[in-house]
Amino acid sequence: MTTILIADDDNHILQLVTIHLTDAGFKVFQARDGVEGLDVLKKNPCDLAVIDIMMPYLDGFALTKEIRRLYDIPIILLTAKSEIEDKEKGFESGTDDYLVKPFEPKELLFRVKALLRRYENEPDDSAIKIGNTIINKKSYEVQIGDRIVLLPLKEFELLHVLASSPMQVFSRDQLIQQIWGLDYEGDERTVDVHIKRLRERFAKITNDFQIKTVRGVGYLLEANRG
């Protein structure tokens, strides 16, 4: 199970973040200041740390530096200040990401997951290469030549599924199950909307591949041989 350290002296935030992360299936360790945070890490190795900047004894910047020195885990700094100086100082002390309070719990989850993906030690065989286009599942990025393309999550996943098996026809049902999950209640039109967007987007920037409609069945991705 993935474990996460949360260090914040504000009890409300601590509880709020814990609830959301636990719901998402993470095991959470709490700390109320920087020194406690280091203690917790000593006893329980964590996969990621979410750290507030304003804390007694050892503030977030110092704690981040300590963690950087001792462990190889991703760090997200939380702060009430949106001052850019803080942001800069945060990145200088070695944080991977930065989130300003008040934040959407969903956003925190998104970033936690993105960071965990980046830090995964799996070999990078998840990247799919079609011509000049590289679809990288780990970073959720599509790279076309020099240009990096960031897609909305569902669109990326759709593209990734189609690209992982070129020329294979996927039915709308299959795609919904794989991407939106079994309990998705929307209709199949959603897939059409996303496919339409993907086509529009990539038509302008590459002709490495095309997404084709197979009438009455579903969609397939065809790589262009150049």
Binding site: I84, E85, K87, E88, F91, D97, Y98, E104, K106, E107, F110, R111, A114, I144, D146, R147, I148, V149, L150, L151, P152, L153, E155, F156, R197, R201, I205
Partner: protein
């Protein structure tokens, strides 16, 4: 009175007196050094002519001859062998003469009183009417020895000249003083006018009138004073508009907050409605807070260039970091695609202020692009410029809106202003920061097709 006028007059007259004295001293020393020997020699020659004439005509009456000489412009003193002296012509002011000189001359030695007349700084020996200031020569007449002392009768010879010079000098001085008095008045008057104009300005009336036809420094001063007055007037107008805008932008959230707190007081409201009201109030509060923050930033940007804390940093990296912080908003909330070509480029500038620029441009692009749209970021280097481009496929703007988007508090299409949050200061701030870095910001937009902001920054290498 210590007015400029009095000072000017006193100084000018002082200069005249000082230069008069200096000129006198210089010309006096010139007389002493150069003219005196010449004068002495000339008069010695005249005296020798007289003595040779008396020696050649022993039968004439000496006194008559002397009397005659004195009338044509000489002062004479004749001493005979017994030491008895006799004056001819205008009397000497000072008749002392050491007796050994007289006996020397009687014994055949010439006396050069003019040449040896004691030098005095403020007295020209030329005018000194003294017996010592004469030429003495031995003279023989009718077998008797005499000593003849003579000097030109300056008063007789140069009296009219004297008067003429005196008048010339007096008139020169008098007229100079008069003209100084008048011309100073003419010079100082515009300054008094300027003073009056500053008083007008201080009272808030900007339509001052000054003579600007003069081509001297004072004319220049008047012209730049008028320019300043015009600028001040513009600044004042801007300030008034700014305040009225600010009051509006502060007043409307406040009245919203007031309205919703009133609604909260209503006990019929159910928890859902209350939660909604509270979130509206919170939104309005954060709007006020970001408004004041941005105003503060803008004010500090206006003040000067010193605000820039320049250092070398990687703009590409900065933009990639920025994009990452918006990844969630882009992908999850708005279904936007963001593509970028951001190579590593070292740039010297203020990283935190430039981050504000990129942040403002990116949030604008996100705000004004509908779901499903896309945004593209790129950095290029062309010649000595770094070109950062933010293009979106958003709602775009009308040409008349484009002209005003960098104005403070201007927000395109006020009808939709309420639905999209923002203070209308973001682009003004971005433009101010870009300008402080010596760059330019351009915008191209087509309604319903999209907008591109292009920032051109000189790659400063002189730091």
């Amino acid at each position: 009175m210590k007015s400029l006028y009095v000072k000017f007059v006193v100084i000018t007259i002082g200069i005249m007196v000082l230069s008069g004295i200096t000129a006198f001293i210089i010309s006096n020393s010139y007389y002493q050094q150069k003219l005196k020997p010449f004068n002495d020699e000339k008069n010695t020659q005249i005296a020798l002519n007289i003595t040779s004439f008396t020696a050649a005509h022993p039968d004439m009456i000496l006194d008559e001859y002397m009397e005659n000489l004195s009338t044509i412009g000489y002062q004479l003193y004749l001493v005979d062998q017994s030491g008895k002296g006799k004056f001819f012509g205008a009397p000497f002011r000072d008749k002392t003469l050491p007796s050994n000189i007289i006996s020397d001359v009687l014994n055949g030695t010439s006396f050069h009183g003019i040449l040896h007349f004691p030098q005095e700084t403020f007295v020209t020996g030329f005018f000194a009417n003294e017996l010592r200031n004469t030429i003495g020569v031995p003279m023989v007449h009718d077998g008797k020895k005499y000593a003849l002392f003579l000097r030109p009768d300056i008063k007789l010879l140069f009296n009219e000249m004297h008067l003429l010079l005196a008048w010339l000098l007096a008139l020169t001085i008098l007229l100079s003083i008069l003209f100084v008095l008048f011309s100073t008045k003419y010079l100082v008057k515009p300054i008094s006018k300027l003073t009056a104009a500053t008083k007008l300005l201080a009272n808030g009336s900007y339509d001052v009138e000054l003579d600007t036809y003069r081509h001297d420094e004072i004319g220049e001063l008047s012209k730049s004073f008028l320019r300043m007055a015009k600028k001040l007037e513009q600044a004042d107008d801007m300030r008034k508009e700014f305040i009225s805008n600010i009051s509006h932008d502060i007043q409307s959230p406040l009245s919203n907050i007031k309205g919703y707190t009133n609604l909260l007081e209503n006990e019929d409201a159910n928890p859902e409605m209350r939660a909604q009201y509270i979130s509206i109030i919170n939104d309005e509060i954060s709007r006020l807070s970001s408004l004041t923050k941005q105003m503060l930033l803008l004010a500090s940007l206006d003040r000067n260039e010193d605000i820039l804390k320049k250092k070398s940093f990687n703009v590409g990296q900065q933009l990639r970091d920025l994009v990452r912080t918006y990844q969630w908003v882009l992908g999850e909330e708005k279904d936007l695609m963001l593509s970028y070509t951001l190579p590593d480029i070292e740039f010297i500038g203020d990283p935190s202020l430039l981050n504000t620029v990129w942040d403002n441009l990116l949030t604008n692009a996100i705000k004004y692009t509908n779901p499903g749209g896309s945004i593209d970021l790129s950095i290029d280097v062309k010649a000595e410029y770094m070109i950062v481009r933010f293009s979106d496929t958003g709602i775009g703007m009308k040409p008349e809106e484009l002209e005003r988007i960098f104005d403070r508090f201007y927000r395109a299409d006020s009808a939709r202003t309420r639905s999209i949050e923002g203070t209308g200061l973001g682009l003004s701030i971005a433009a101010a920061i870009v300008k402080l870095h010596g760059g330019q910001i351009h915008v191209r937009s087509t309604e319903n097709e999209g907008t591109s902001f292009i920032v051109e920054m000189p790659l400063a290498k002189n730091l």
